[in-house]
């Protein structure tokens, strides 16, 4: 049901974008106002969310320790999975952000005739890594539309990406990888009963929007062969704040742009914010040097405790009976001395 709602929402976005992109009255809105507004919402929302997290205190140092601690000098510590230094933390975060270290640990626990069998399960990690890296590649490739002249580095990257000279224009590896990874992640949401159970509207929605963007993008590049010069003219116009409504960019481009805008505007309100949040997780970005270096809680406040004096008062007779030393006696002896 959640999936149906979200695919409905995505189709609605596509239809609205397609129609608005063609209508005389809607064109300025679809081609100029919506992209700018979406970008503004994205930037402001993203910054607000991250700043909001960053501004909230971290009262306790609670890293999840995934390897040996640094203790005695002859025991080798796990410097990356249980870092005790800043360098170690940076290493851990680097592995986490760039290579999805924690997800790499993933395994699969299954019951088999009353026994629990834990086996390897790396597909989710592989698909997630492929998805994110190819998405990054595709985003970076799009930069060529926003700058003139195109930097040499970008051109080099494109050459590598288009290494398999299959067809004209060459098929980009990142396109293929992205499509496959996205298909896997979507299929997993539908086919795996566990993941289906936990999936919500927003989980499907994000994937469907990506799918819509990918499909329209692929169509333009490989099938309808969109006029790249016009696209670039239009994009440069947006980038330089001299926006001009394009004349020759068709329906598919309108849908592509509309969906990208929706994704950007939706981003700060959604789980996609994990992009910023992953850097701030206190179980990952703090060193496990708890006993070596005191962590300060900015809102630490005094609490009601049961003090030794109160305790001794209550158990005085029993302490005496058991011949245990009393603070009162210490004090008396001290004053006698």
């Amino acid at each position: 049901m959640q999936a149906a709602y979200s695919i409905g929402a995505v189709v609605a976005v596509a239809v609205v974008a397609a129609i608005a992109g063609q209508l005389a009255g809607g064109r300025t809105i679809a081609w100029i106002i919506v992209p700018y507004a979406a970008l503004a919402v994205f930037l402001a929302g993203f910054c607000y969310r991250v700043a909001h997290w960053a501004a909230s205190p971290v009262p306790f140092r609670i890293p999840t320790t995934c390897a040996q601690q640094k203790s005695l000098p002859w025991i080798r510590p796990g410097r990356l999975d249980n870092p005790s230094t800043l360098a170690g933390v940076l290493g851990r975060m680097g592995l986490e952000v760039l290579l999805f270290r924690s997800l790499f640990r993933n395994n699969d626990a299954r019951l088999n005739q009353g026994r629990l069998v834990v086996s390897e399960a790396k597909y989710l990690w592989l698909a997630a890594l492929a998805f994110h890296w190819s998405l990054l590649m595709i985003l970076v490739r799009h930069l060529r539309l926003l700058v003139e002249p195109v930097p040499a580095l970008l051109l080099a990257m494109e050459r590598i990406d288009g290494f398999f000279q299959a067809g004209v224009p060459p098929v980009y590896l990142s396109d293929v990888v992205f499509a496959c990874a996205l298909a896997y992640l979507l299929a997993r949401r539908f086919r795996d009963a566990t993941v289906r159970y936990i999936s919500q509207f927003s989980d499907y929605f994000a994937l469907f929007v990506f799918a819509g963007i990918a499909i329209t993008g692929l169509l333009m590049r490989y099938l309808t062969r969109v006029d790249v010069v016009s696209v670039k003219q239009f994009a440069l116009g947006l980038a330089t704040f001299h926006p001009q409504r394009p004349s020759a960019l068709g329906l598919i481009f309108a849908v592509h742009l509309g969906m990208v805008s929706v994704l950007a505007a939706y981003f700060p309100f959604s789980k996609l914010m994990h992009m910023g949040g992953v850097f701030l997780s206190p179980t990952r970005n703090l060193a496990n040097n708890n006993r070596a270096k005191r962590h300060v809680n900015p809102w630490n406040y005094p609490v009601k405790t049961h003090t030794y004096a109160e305790w001794e008062e209550e158990f005085r007779d029993k302490l005496k009976g058991a011949d245990l030393p009393l603070e009162a006696d210490h004090a008396a002896r001290a004053s006698a001395d």
């Binding site: 999840t64 320790t65 040996q68 299954r110 019951l111 989980d203 049961h306 030393p325």
Partner: protein, 531 residues
């Protein structure tokens, strides 16, 4: 014990988790906290009620209290706010939870446990949730949701296993801790947590043992040691001017098999001539406050530093206990420090400086003992543990909140001849919980404990069949209290022991009489007929 063997079977998740209806039945829940214990701690809304009751007699403004409590904690804990926001529901955590594996209840997947809270967060604290409600994953806060929270936040042992696998490090322990804190605000708490906490607040320890009882217990242990070894060890209590304060979980001096671990400590301290003292005030290192709220944790923990200061010791040594060490390692210094009245810990025997504890100034006994062995200060005869084929259960907190993995293993390898590891995916940072931690270890909750402990038991069974393992060593008081039941049920024939019990068995003391029996009074080696 359940009469029939529990059927642990995989069921596909069905239904909609947004429906909060929960069936409270005996065996899978903990009972409510007695009003006297709630009162003793000065916590809100003491009353007589049980989770089975239709009417939980919540305070009239319960909803507002909960929402304000959430707001307050969202402001105070980055962890909480972040973990409410960034889950992508990838599902990697699902089968990592021992309660999900053992119960097949889909709401025990860590992701769903968090969603129970997250859905309310979205509905009341996010723009999209306020506008779009259920479509944005929001859920109304109703009495049924409160009951559901109670059910599932007391069906999590805060073991942090899921957090190891989460790509964003979302820690269900943190969610559960906050969830329980919220429930505490409206008087929904369990007796198995609050009674020990109330005892601890008054007497200094969970079991409510008063100072004379504390002394009797330790003297009794000294008598027993004299019988076993022929050596009379000292029992210094509340002794001012000692170099080291030793703090342990109270079960060590009042429960079995913990007690044999205590014997091990006492032998060790005597043998190396340690200048130390026990304390009848700081007679508990464990901290059931951790299972209730951050504030209660701080209140119970305060006595450790207070007593160290009063006695004028140089530093503190701590015994074998899991959640106690979560508090000591990750919270104590922040909550009740700085410990500037103590000195940086240095082993008086080896001269080793425990640099990893230079601020908190409290050292784990396994770190201390591993150093002694490494420096050749102990004479150990591992053949005295020959009746045992040992495996080691990493307790959740020392493993995933400290990373103390090698120290206990080093001790075991030096004290025992036969040691075998369980499969990699069930030990170290991936260790499976005993299923009874975080205040769930009560017999009224036995069915759920046995279900939650199943993955651990299953791994023990594997090494029992493969290597003939008959002893499960661990360094946690809750493990020692609850693993014997778990073993008896799932893997009969496997005993449970603390690491320092094994050390005590192997320790050759100067001037000891000829020994033939271990600390349990059993012959060192199993008789051939039994082998």
């Amino acid at each position: 014990m359940p009469q029939e063997l529990l059927q642990i079977e995989a069921k596909k998740p069905a239904g909609d988790w947004k429906n909060p209806a929960v069936e409270f039945r005996k065996g899978v829940i903990c009972y409510s906290a007695a009003a006297k214990n709630v009162r003793a701690l000065g916590l809100p809304h003491p009353r007589d009620w049980q989770p089975f009751d239709a009417d939980w007699k919540l305070p009239p403004d319960w909803k507002q209290t909960l929402l304000e409590g959430m707001k307050d904690r969202l402001r105070k804990y980055r962890s909480f706010r972040l973990f409410m926001d960034i889950c992508v529901r990838c599902g990697a955590c699902a089968d990592k939870c021992h309660f999900y594996v053992g119960s097949s209840d889909p709401k025990n997947m860590p992701v769903v446990r968090a969603e129970l809270l997250r859905s309310v967060y979205r509905r009341y604290f996010t723009l999209s949730g306020r506008i779009f409600g259920a479509l944005a994953g929001g859920r109304e806060l109703t009495e049924d949701v409160v009951k559901e929270w109670f059910f599932y936040f007391y069906q999590c042992t805060e073991c942090r296993r899921c957090s190891v696998f989460c790509p964003y490090g979302i820690d269900t322990a943190e969610i559960t801790m906050i969830g329980r804190e919220l429930l505490n605000l409206i008087g929904c708490n369990t007796n198995w947590v609050l009674e020990p906490a109330a005892n601890c607040f008054r007497t200094g320890n969970h079991l409510g043992i008063q100072p004379h009882g504390f002394k009797d217990s330790l003297e009794f242990a000294a008598d027993e040691l004299e019988e076993i070894t022929g050596i009379r060890v000292d029992v210094p209590i509340n002794r001012k001017g000692a170099e080291i304060l030793f703090v342990m979980p109270s079960a060590d001096y009042f429960a079995t098999p913990h007690y044999f671990t205590l014997l091990g400590y006492m032998m060790l301290f005597h043998e190396i001539g340690l200048d130390f003292t026990f304390s009848a005030f700081a007679s508990e290192g464990g901290n059931f406050g951790l299972f209730s709220s951050h504030e209660l944790m701080k209140r119970l923990n305060a006595k450790v530093y207070e007593e160290a200061r009063r006695l004028g010791v140089k530093w503190i040594l701590g015994g074998e206990c899991g959640h106690m060490w979560r508090v000591l390692h990750q919270y104590m210094d922040t909550m009740n420090g700085p410990a500037d009245f103590l000195e940086e810990p240095v082993s008086p025997i080896t001269g080793t400086r425990f640099e990893n504890a230079r601020s908190t100034r409290m050292v784990h006994i396994c770190e201390f003992t591993a150093d002694l062995i490494y420096c050749g200060k102990l004479r150990l005869d591992p053949s005295r543990n020959d009746r045992w084929t040992v495996t080691f259960h990493d307790s959740c907190n020392p493993a995933r909140s400290m990373g103390m993995l090698e120290e206990p293993r080093y001790i075991i390898r030096n004290a025992c001849n036969r040691f075998y590891e369980m499969p990699e995916t069930t030990i170290r940072e991936q260790t499976f919980c005993c299923g009874s931690g975080a205040g769930l270890g009560t017999d009224e909750n036995l069915e759920m404990r046995l279900r939650g402990g199943f993955p651990r038991a299953n791994a023990v069974k594997y090494v029992k069949e493969k290597h003939g393992v008959n002893l499960l060593a661990c360094i946690c008081a809750i493990d020692k209290a609850t693993l014997p039941t778990l073993m008896e049920y799932w893997v009969p024939g496997v005993e449970v022991a603390g690491v320092h019990e094994l050390l005590g068995n192997a320790l050759v003391m100067r001037g000891e009489k000829e020994r033939t029996a271990n600390l349990r009074g059993e012959p060192f080696a199993a008789e051939v007929a039994n082998a």
